[in-house]
């Protein structure tokens, strides 16, 4: 798929937010996540096309993941998720709810969190999630169900402890 500069820009504005969220959910650092997303788009601009990509959206998420995984190989360590950076713009400026949700997401295992982010905020189908994470669609669907259950529990526990 050939992409002109405005088309790439459109892709950036369309998927930038969810790509950034996905990147943060993978690496745990906002700055690294931002760099990874930028790196993908810069390479895309240099190439001028999304080569051999049947599904550009899934391709973008997979590219961000690959950038972060390659970087992780060099760093050889996992960084704990940042507790103080916002991941979301909360509805009605409910920053407590944002903190609550972020904490619940951070409590999930990495693989489940990534599937949840890709499916809910990336709006990827389970087939696309499977393509990005190189797992089967069934695995993606089951991880999603586990993630939702754990998330609900984590949020309820937090609400009860707050109450």
């Amino acid at each position: 798929m050939d992409c002109s500069f405005p088309q790439i820009e459109d892709l950036y504005y369309q998927y930038g937010g969810s790509l950034l969220l996905f990147a943060v959910s993978v690496c745990g650092e906002s700055s690294r996540a931002q760099d990874a997303v930028h790196q993908v788009f810069l390479k895309l601009m240099e190439a001028g096309s999304i080569q051999n990509a049947l599904d550009p959206k899934a391709y973008l998420f997979a590219s961000v993941r690959n950038v972060l995984l390659n970087e992780r190989k060099f760093r050889k360590r996992n960084v704990p998720l940042e507790p103080d950076r916002m991941w979301f713009v909360p509805p009605n400026r409910d920053y407590a709810a944002e903190l609550h949700l972020r904490g619940a997401l951070q409590s999930l295992p990495d693989d489940q969190r990534q599937v949840l982010v890709l499916h809910v905020w990336g709006e990827l189908t389970f087939s696309q999630v499977a393509e990005v994470l190189k797992i089967s669609a069934n695995t993606a669907a089951s991880r999603y169900r586990y993630a939702l259950t754990k998330l609900r529990d984590a949020m309820l526990v937090k609400e009860n402890s707050d109450g």
């Binding site: 820009e9 930028h38 810069l42 601009m45 509805p91 939702l148 609900r152």
Partner: protein
């Protein structure tokens, strides 16, 4: 089959919008930036070339010998010097200079000199008449 609780939770989660990333940095526009850079370079080179041509032309014009005007100092000096030398031997250098600087003045002077320095032809004592009588 989708669990209604799951769908409810999903819609709640979707009400949170991911933070928008920072705009792509300037480095993100290589093609556009390259084009702008090429345009700016071309414009600068063109301006420099035009400037160089103008400077060279103006210099070459300064070196072209221009005919002296009637009020030019070189002409006046030459005419004055020649007038003062009237009747006596005229300096060849001054004549050459006048011929190069001002053709009109040179012609005028030579006409005058011809009238005064060559023997008369029309009068009673003209050289032609005397020779004819002989």
């Amino acid at each position: 089959m989708a669990n209604p609780d799951d769908e409810q939770l999903k819609s709640y989660l979707k009400s949170f919008h991911p933070v928008v990333p920072e705009p792509l940095r300037t480095r993100a526009y290589p093609a556009k930036a390259g084009r702008l850079f090429a345009l700016a370079t071309t414009a600068a080179v063109s301006l420099a070339a035009i400037g160089l041509v103008v400077v060279l032309l103006s210099r070459s014009w300064q070196h072209v010998p221009r005919p002296a005007t009637k009020s030019s100092p070189s002409r006046e000096i030459a005419v004055q010097s020649l007038n003062s030398a009237r009747g006596s031997q005229i300096s060849t250098t001054l004549l050459t200079k006048l011929a190069l600087d001002d053709h009109e003045a040179f012609d005028e002077l030579m006409t005058e000199k011809v009238r005064t320095q060559f023997p008369l032809m029309k009068d009673e004592q003209s050289a032609l008449r005397v020779l004819a009588k002989e």
